[in-house]
């Protein structure tokens, strides 16, 4: 019994340790600028609780250029998730359900190509995209996120588990390949859609190197880059930085927590059977 109490105590301690920096960000965002670095030494009751909570930073933040950056991130990520899901579900369907010569070869080529991490080839890709005049465009920002090998792999694995009888029955009824994909396979694939969607979402929401080099124009700044160049927009204002950090992190946290179950299973299927 005492062992269980000890274990619980350690687990709670670890969880709170991971939460602590996040908590500090949150309360610093609603503190007056002057008290952000106060109450630190020695730590006291006001170290981890705002003495005079205020929304001035939050309000000023949303009236400034950061609102544009968050909009850019939301827009780019939403398009990436939708386009990426369509592309990878179609590819996963062709690589698992349709039988054609060279299928295994195509699959192997695709897997090996996607093993090259995107960030590693971001610089040569930058040269290509610049020549295509995709600098400072949403297209240039979105494109790298829509081709994702892991998403293709997830759909393929999931589709392989759907019984063939369903497809054969539909074919006897005269349904074409697109109908089978759209009306039979996709509606059955909620877990795969959510898992692959999460992968695409996280990739694009966190992207830093690519948006940094492809979109230097302030109109196309994404939030993850904007927060690193904050003083260019707002001057050195810590309350605003913390408010920005809070909002950039809040949205993916809500998404990740809501779909946590699917995140774990996607991880399990890629990790355990990869």
């Amino acid at each position: 019994m005492s062992r269980r109490i000890l274990r619980t105590g350690v687990a709670v301690f670890c969880a709170l340790a991971f939460l602590l920096p996040l908590w500090w960000v949150t309360i610093s965002a609603i503190r007056p600028e002057a008290s952000i670095f106060a109450h630190l030494s020695p730590p006291g009751r006001w170290t981890l609780w705002p003495r005079e909570p205020t929304l001035v930073h939050v309000l000023e933040l949303w009236q400034g250029p950061f609102a544009r950056a968050i909009f850019n991130t939301v827009y780019i990520t939403a398009v990436t998730v939708v386009a990426g899901l369509v592309i990878s579900a179609m590819a996963g369907f062709a690589l698992s359900v349709i039988r054609f010569r060279g299928r295994e070869a195509v699959f192997v080529v695709m897997v090996i190509s996607f093993l090259i991490p995107f960030d590693a080839i971001a610089l040569p890709l930058f040269g290509i995209m610049r020549d295509l005049r995709l600098q400072n465009t949403y297209t240039g920002l979105i494109l790298p996120g829509i081709g994702n090998g892991l998403a293709v792999f997830l759909f393929r694995q999931f589709f392989l588990g759907i019984p063939k009888d369903l497809r054969e029955a539909a074919q006897i009824d005269g349904m074409g390949w697109f109908g089978i994909f759209w009306r039979i396979y996709l509606p059955l694939s909620r877990p795969a859609i959510i898992s692959a969607g999460l992968i695409l979402f996280v990739f694009q929401w966190q992207a830093y190197l690519w948006p940094l080099i492809i979109a230097p124009d302030p109109d196309y700044k994404v939030a993850a880059v904007a927060i690193a160049q904050f003083s260019d927009f707002y001057g050195v204002r810590y309350g605003l930085i913390f408010a920005a950090a809070f909002f950039i992190s809040l949205i993916p946290m809500v998404v990740l927590t809501a779909f946590q179950r699917y995140f774990s299973t996607s991880v399990a299927s890629s990790g355990g059977k990869g």
């Binding site: 687990a11 709170l16 590693a120 890709l125 996280v202 966190q206 950090a245 992190s249 355990g272």
Partner: protein, 286 residues
């Protein structure tokens, strides 16, 4: 004839993904190789760029820093992630909440973690506040050549460890309970159960996590670029920052391309190693 039609349909379904692979991976990789073979002042393809970077102390130092960083950060993150997974794989009140709290930082972009810790590690920040309270001197952290790399490790681990814990937790939950009951009947203690059931059963997951983590850590860029620009004294100049600096700060695309090819080869070797490690035990089992 029928077969031919089916192939056309398959091509139609595959086309967007194939174009994406070609444009987003193969073409840039080819561009990097051809750029790297095209040295300034040399006619035709040559290995001059490679000779140049491997004779450049800055590049060699960044390889050393990357190696040292990898050797510390990967075992450290995986050990902590495994301990947390073991801890969180138990009947504890509100276990879902504690798991979620550890997973929450995973959602935070690296650049945000960098900015937040950059403030937290300042001389007048909360970390030094706590240190001072316990009688320690104020530390420089990100501006100290001895502490900057450790600070970067802290910044990426806060958001990374929960991610790897999720993999390991999923792996732990797939281990059949019967195995533990059997070894307990044989009189094994907790350590022996871990050593002879948990570890071997978790082997594949651990291998995957190790390799995926190694690759991810080769590509760490945002915290370095935002907080230290590779300094002080090159102590945090990880290879991605070195490549970025060559291409965008020094304006030397051909040596940046050579360094990119070196990085891609490094990453692919690690991944191929993973495949050979993960295939081998299955053959033995059969």
């Amino acid at each position: 004839m029928m077969l031919h039609r089916t192939t056309l349909v398959a091509v139609a379904f595959l086309l967007p993904a194939l174009v994406a692979v070609a444009v987003l991976r193969l073409w840039p990789a080819a561009v990097a190789v051809s750029l790297s073979l095209d040295a300034p002042g040399v006619d035709g393809p040559s290995l001059e760029n490679y000779r140049y970077i491997f004779g450049d102390p800055l590049f060699l130092k960044s390889l050393t820093v990357t190696a040292a960083y990898s050797l510390i950060v990967n075992p450290l993150q995986i050990a902590i992630a495994l301990l947390l997974a073991l801890l969180m794989n138990a009947a504890i009140p509100l276990i879902g909440l504690w798991r979620t709290l550890i997973l929450l930082p995973v959602a935070i972009p690296q650049s945000v973690s960098a900015v937040v810790w950059g403030v937290g590690l300042r001389p007048d920040g909360p970390i030094n506040g706590v240190l001072n309270t316990f009688g320690f001197e104020t530390q420089r952290f990100l501006t100290s050549p001895d502490q900057a790399l450790a600070s970067i490790i802290l910044i990426v681990s806060w958001i990374g460890v929960g991610y790897w814990m999720t993999f390991l937790l999923a792996g732990l939950q797939e281990i059949p309970k019967a195995l533990y009951e059997a070894i307990r009947i044989d009189g094994a203690n907790r350590w022996q159960a871990f050593r002879f059931v948990t570890l071997p059963q978790l082997r594949r997951t651990l291998t995957f996590v190790l390799v995926a983590n190694t690759v991810a850590n080769f590509l760490i860029f945002a915290p370095v670029q935002i907080l230290t620009q590779g300094g002080p004294q090159g102590s945090t100049n990880l290879i991605m920052n070195e490549i970025y600096t060559r291409a965008f700060v020094s304006g030397d695309p051909s040596s940046a391309a050579a360094a990119t090819v070196v990085l891609v080869i490094l990453v692919l070797s690690v991944v191929i190693l993973q495949f050979s490690l993960m295939r081998a035990p299955e053959d033995n089992l059969a």
